[in-house]
């Protein structure tokens, strides 16, 4: 088991009180697993990723722990985490397009990065070039400035830099949302290639685009308003979801072949609760078509069949 997150709770401190952005997240990630993390904006997906790698104010760690390859990560200690960042756990940040220093040539930036981790940059160069070949970038990009690269090229370059130290866990935050469909496909396929070649052990892909996850993810974790809603194998989540939110979310997605005149898709009425003072119990309760008495309590995130977890009273207590 490569990653184990237990009861992780992270709040944002604001003048008006705590924003409860991530509440009691418990899940694990197997070796070689690509897990998709999906949900609406503001549901806590990026908070979850950030708390695994850079937990700084205004984020506040409230409870829970994170184990990577059996060792507990000192996620609250920004300094101590330096030993793990980049080597054990790495991130392709959101807006990776702008992640590179515009005033440095890419090669020089890569060298500086390696030196800061006390690695002999000269000896790492052949490996860097081999990785560039993997993502089909010419070695010349090392002599260029980021501005000379197209969006897809920058994204691939950042991918190479983030994975240079063969991290055990890679967090990919919205890496495809700014790319054209053809580039998007090539980039995510390369990500899968990195996993297949064991450059990275396991990957968490954060996106709001379910159809991308269907193409590449082994499992999908759905979040709603800071709580985990459902996790399961990709096929199960897409074709037979059990949580009412997942069901509504999947059916609201337009597909090629569905026309408005024939099939009228429905959105989910209402909007997510404010996390500054969220309602007690299940946070989807107000928008949920099947909510009942028991939903006033927070539903536990339980395994209803092997590998398939759901946080819904209707599913875990069918007699209620």
């Amino acid at each position: 088991m490569s990653l184990r997150v237990e009861d992780l709770t992270v709040y944002y401190q604001t003048l008006r009180g705590d924003v409860r952005a991530l509440e009691c997240a418990t899940f694990s990630l197997a070796d070689g697993e690509i897990m998709g993390l999906a949900g609406e904006s503001g549901c806590g997906k990026t908070t979850l990723a950030n708390s695994l790698i850079l937990l700084v104010p205004p984020m506040r760690h409230v409870a829970g722990r994170v184990l990577l390859d059996g060792r507990e990560l000192p996620i609250c200690d920004v300094e101590a985490m330096n030993r793990y960042r980049f080597k054990e756990i790495s991130v392709i940040p959101q807006y990776a397009m702008n992640a590179m220093n515009p005033t440095r040539k890419i090669g020089r930036m890569a060298m500086e990065l390696l030196r800061s981790r006390r690695i002999d940059a000269k000896r790492a160069l052949p490996e860097l070039e081999r990785r560039l070949d993997l993502v089909e970038l010419s070695h010349n990009v090392l002599k260029m400035y980021p501005i000379e690269l197209s969006g897809g090229m920058k994204q691939r370059m950042v991918m190479v830099l983030s994975t240079l130290m063969d991290p055990s866990l890679l967090l990919a935050d919205e890496i495809t949302s700014a790319l054209d469909v053809s580039t998007q496909k090539a980039v995510v396929k390369m990500l899968v290639g990195f996993r297949d070649r064991e450059i990275v052990r396991s990957v968490i892909v954060i996106t709001h685009d379910m159809s991308i996850l269907y193409q590449i993810a082994d499992s999908i974790l759905i979040m709603y308003a800071g709580q985990l809603a459902e996790k399961g194998p990709t096929e199960t989540i897409i074709h037979s979801p059990r949580h009412p939110y997942t069901k509504l979310l999947i059916t609201s997605l337009p597909k090629v072949g569905v026309k408005h005149d024939e099939t009228r898709l429905k959105g989910i009425p209402g909007k997510p609760p404010l996390l500054l003072d969220p309602p007690e119990g299940c946070r989807f309760r107000e928008r949920c078509p099947v909510a009942f008495e028991a939903c006033r309590e927070v539903p536990p995130f339980l395994e209803i069949e092997p590998g398939h977890f759901v946080a819904c009273w209707k599913e875990t207590e069918p007699n209620a």
Binding site: S182, Y214, V258, L265, K266, G267
Partner: protein, 317 residues
């Protein structure tokens, strides 16, 4: 109702404007009453430029845009105002369409000042209320609020309501739902489809093929400023003929089928060939064919309501 006739746009780029960039070249299509036409293309294909030219936000370099038979570039003064009464646009980012220091409903007041100075308060309030209700918003929940107090979906519907205050007949919807969340985007899409029933024509600009399929009768695929394929939505999606459309269809992530292993070439885009087919550099079929390099293929009708601009179209049957 709206007709584009060989419309082109050339931007001057480079430090001193010495270079030219052909953003749109000789695009022609028509939109009739109550029809939704999707304009589909990747970034840089010129789809937003076409929308802006229709709204007269950028000037046209060549060709004509006709609205009810009148060339819109000749409109001046009052005629221009009449045009904007009937043709309006809604854009991608709802948050940047508002001035954050004013309340969101100020956009309605601006419309009133410009187009309905004589209307009294009660009549105006009634008009605002009915157009908010037409877009599925409860006026009591959304009036008198600042933009940050409303969600992206609400703001976007607000802008559509603003357009509905006028006697609008044509709406340019430029990527209006790409910034919205999955659970709200379908509502805005349904709203557009519903407005179609009132005789409103929509130019739906998108990069998302499944959205285009859901809402439109006709679609046009753009590549580097050229329409490479155009026609009835079902025909283009079920039987794409242009190699670019085929590649696009194969790379769209879908929920009902996994990606087939179509090889995609990631070669950097070359300088545009001056005379030949725009897709020549990336086309898998072109290499055998000298013609593709030297002649730009015209749009040819391969079956009723299905046009393709490819020299090898129809050869495979």
């Amino acid at each position: 109702m709206l007709k584009l006739d060989g419309v082109s746009k050339t931007y001057r780029v480079g430090t001193f404007g010495g270079k030219q960039l052909q953003a749109v070249s000789e695009v022609s299509f028509e939109v009739s009453d109550g029809e939704v036409v999707s304009l589909i293309g990747e970034s840089g294909s010129g789809k937003s430029t076409i929308g802006k030219m229709i709204l007269r936000l950028v000037t046209i370099t060549g060709g004509r845009i006709l609205f009810d038979g009148r060339d819109i570039s000749t409109l001046r003064g009052n005629a221009m105002k009449t045009y904007y009464r009937e043709v309006q646009g809604v854009f991608q980012d709802p948050f940047s369409s508002y001035n954050p220091i004013f309340k969101a409903d100020r956009v309605f007041e601006i419309v009133r000042d410009h187009f309905y100075p004589g209307v009294n308060d009660r009549e105006w309030d009634e008009k605002v209320r009915s157009s908010l209700e037409a877009v599925g918003l409860n006026p009591r929940h959304v009036m008198d609020k600042y933009p940050h107090q409303l969600s992206g979906g609400q703001l976007q519907r607000f802008l559509i309501a603003r357009a509905l205050l006028l006697d609008i007949r044509f709406l340019v919807a430029d990527e209006i739902i790409s910034m919205l969340d999955a659970s709200t985007r379908i509502d805005v899409l349904n709203l557009l489809a519903g407005l179609k029933g009132r005789g409103l024509a929509v130019l739906f600009i998108t990069h998302d093929l499944s959205l285009g399929y859901y809402i439109s009768e006709e679609a046009a695929i753009l590549y580097r400023g050229c329409v490479v394929e155009r026609g009835q939505t079902e025909k283009i999606y079920d039987r794409p003929i242009h190699p670019y459309t085929q590649m696009l269809m194969a790379s769209v992530p879908r929920l009902d089928q996994k990606w087939e292993d179509v090889e995609i070439e990631l070669r950097a885009k070359q300088e545009e060939p001056s005379t030949g087919c725009v897709y020549f550099e990336r086309c898998p079929k072109a290499r055998r064919d000298e013609r593709c390099r030297d002649q730009r293929p015209p749009l040819v009708e391969v079956e009723p309501r299905h046009f393709v601009a490819c020299a090898s179209a129809g050869k495979e049957g």
